[in-house]
């Protein structure tokens, strides 16, 4: 199955596109919390050569612990950074719905009715406390338009950029596929399936000129005990937050805290977004994540890694190259031009 890692990723990209094109498939993909990886792979454009054994994902969390910012007592790297390197993924849901992460994509038919709201994970919006994005009226209208257009696109902007393998941007990359955190003196590097993000720990380095706008923005950060504090500017706002269509403009600034538990097993992302172009006030998004350390947990979404081949006795987890755009199937404008 390991040889199919790249193909599976390919297959999933195609699935994303197929799902957008087909209402019946959308309803299958809708309930992401009960959809098995096998079901998701079913409509793949290219058959997987050797069927991977059915893997069970870790169950999605309906709630998650608060992690207090404070001292770091876990292992440190030689440059003093808390050692949090490894494979990580979010715990409560994917990119289908921001304010009701386990409630399915807005506007989709469900196979099973949703139970009471309090039985599902909370909104990713942790402030305001009502869990809603504080949109200006024009922006809310655009989000509602996207939520309709997403199922039957009549305008290129109704297509989720991620379906074209565009980078997930901030913060969506953190609740997309699993990702790798790499650490080096002066840097924390995130490697996502769609793109990568370099956080500079040297805050004397100025941000890029304002005119430069980037999918993943320009990041400066530092460690405060167990917390990586990051300042993001130069974000282009193009990535959208998910299939529910929320977004920021290119004028947004983001203050992030990645608060790591001292046993190194999980962290909470707490990001405060300030964007007077789109919102009436700043808001905060919280994303819980856990670390994956075993190749056996490879599940086609949160982890796609294998044990390295070597003569030694310790097990070493490694990940194939992360490629999306190049392997992506044709869709919409992109396919017409290809």
């Amino acid at each position: 199955m390991d040889s199919n890692l790249g193909k599976r990723q390919h297959a999933f990209c195609n699935l994303m596109l197929s799902a957008l094109m087909s209402a019946s498939l959308v309803s299958v993909a809708a309930d992401e919390n009960t959809t098995s990886p096998a079901q998701e792979k079913k409509p793949a454009a290219k058959p997987v050569e050797t069927a991977p054994p059915a893997q069970t994902r870790r169950p999605r969390e309906k709630s998650f612990p608060t992690i207090a910012s404070g001292e770091w007592t876990g292992p440190k790297l030689s440059d003093g950074q808390p050692d949090v390197s490894g494979f990580w993924s979010n715990t409560i849901g994917n990119h289908g719905n921001l304010t009701d992460p386990q409630g399915g994509v807005i506007g989709e038919a469900r196979r099973t009715p949703l139970g009471p709201r309090e039985q599902r994970a909370p909104s990713r919006v942790s402030d305001p406390t009502d869990g809603q994005f504080p949109f200006q009226p024009w922006a809310l209208a655009k989000v509602k338009e996207f939520q309709v257009g997403f199922h039957n696109p009549t305008y290129p902007g109704h297509v989720e950029p991620n379906a074209r393998c565009a980078p997930g941007g901030v913060p969506k990359s953190l609740y997309w596929h699993g990702y790798d955190i790499l650490q080096y003196p002066g840097y924390v590097v995130f490697v996502f399936d769609n793109g990568s993000r370099i956080i500079h720990l040297d805050e004397s380095k100025p941000h890029l000129p304002e005119k430069l706008k980037l999918w993943n923005g320009d990041s400066r950060g530092h460690w405060e005990g167990n917390t990586l504090v990051v300042d993001v500017s130069n974000h282009n706002g193009k990535a959208l937050f998910g299939r529910s269509g929320e977004f920021i403009s290119e004028n947004a600034t983001i203050k992030e805290k990645y608060i790591f538990a001292n046993d190194g097993s999980r962290y909470n992302y707490v990001g405060t977004f300030t964007d007077p172009t789109v919102y009436t006030r700043p808001f905060t998004i919280t994303i819980p994540a856990i670390k994956y350390t075993r190749a056996e947990e490879t599940d086609g979404w949160n982890l796609e890694a294998r044990w390295a081949k070597h003569a030694g006795k310790t097990q070493i987890l490694e990940h194939d190259e992360r490629i999306c755009h190049e392997n992506n199937g044709g869709f919409g404008i992109g396919s017409a031009q290809r």
Binding site: D2, S3, N4, L5, G6, K7, S78, W138, A139, K142, E145, P156, G157, V159, P161, R164, C165, A166, P167, L182, Y184, P185, Y187, V189, V191, G195, S196, I198, K205, P206, L208, L214, W215, N216, N236, G237, K238, A239, L240, F247, I248, S249, R306, A308, K309, H310, A311, G312, I316, E318, D320, E321, R322, I323, H325, E326, I333, G334, Q337, R338
Partner: protein, 270 residues
């Protein structure tokens, strides 16, 4: 030996002084003539003593325009090429394909679609790349496409059930201060330059990375591909460290440019 020298202390002193001077001159000549060796001791190193290639690097060569010697043309500056011996030893059929690629280079170069450049093209493509290095691996982030290549240096081997990868599978070993990387399991979708030099999925690349001084890397590679080339061939480029103040990579996901304009939503014009 003239015994007078021993009997005459002043003469002895003179000889001693001369010897001292000679020693100084000799020591000085060592410093000047062995400047390279002197610099070699100062190359950056990891805690484990291996050379530390961390930094942002770029070639100034015109290699990506055409690996082979070429006169100027409308879409390329002139260049002597970087192929040892001048020409790539194509098999006859492959040479025909290479000619077709050259004719269609304005549309068929995969880089025009923002595709991952592959190995070794990403190294001499004229955009910077950053090496992040630790004992177990080097991660290379290419500004172009922002693709990430991992070179494993932890004694792991090529996987038993490989895929065909855009960047191949890279396993490195240290030979003294030279990093030797064996790269294979490629797909056949990348080109070697924008003039249409190409390879098949049987490509194998053996790279040799070595510091010439703390700010310069000599990069050599041997390319083997029995489906396309009649014999292995070698290339060599120099990589320079970016030392501009606050220099950094700037993500270049140019494959998004065709649809950039549709995001994010904007207020309707009144």
């Amino acid at each position: 030996m003239n015994t007078a020298a021993i009997k005459n202390p002043s003469w002895f002193k003179k000889i001693g002084l001369t010897l001292l001077l000679l020693t100084h001159v000799f020591a000085f000549s060592l410093v000047t003539s062995n400047a390279d060796a002197h610099d070699a001791t100062k190359i950056p190193r990891l805690a484990n003593g291996k050379p530390d290639f961390s930094g942002i690097w770029q070639t100034t060569s015109a290699a990506d325009y055409d690996l082979e010697p070429h006169s100027n043309r409308k879409d390329a500056p002139p260049g002597p090429g970087i192929v040892e011996g001048g020409e790539i030893p194509y098999l006859p059929k492959a040479l025909e394909q290479r000619k077709k690629n050259f004719e269609n280079r304005a549309t068929d170069d995969p880089a025009l679609k923002g595709f991952t450049l592959g190995v070794p093209r990403g190294i001499y493509y004229p955009e910077p790349f950053q090496i992040f290095q630790r004992a177990r691996d080097l991660n290379i982030v290419h500004q172009f496409g922002h693709s990430v290549r991992t070179i494993h240096t932890n004694n792991t081997e090529h996987p038993e059930d490989p895929n065909d990868w855009w960047l191949g599978d890279s396993r490195g070993k240290w030979e003294g201060d030279t990093l030797v990387v064996d790269v294979k399991h490629f797909n056949d979708k990348t080109w070697l330059d924008r003039s249409g030099n190409f390879h098949s999925d049987a490509l194998q690349v053996v790279e040799r990375w070595k510091f010439l001084d703390p700010n310069t890397i000599e990069y050599k590679a041997t390319l083997t591909d029995a489906q396309v080339f009649s014999k292995p061939w070698n290339i060599s480029v120099i990589l320079h460290r970016h030392r501009e103040k606050n220099f950094q990579l700037i993500e270049d996901y140019r494959y998004t440019l065709d649809y950039d304009q549709y995001y994010p939503p904007k207020p309707d014009k009144k």
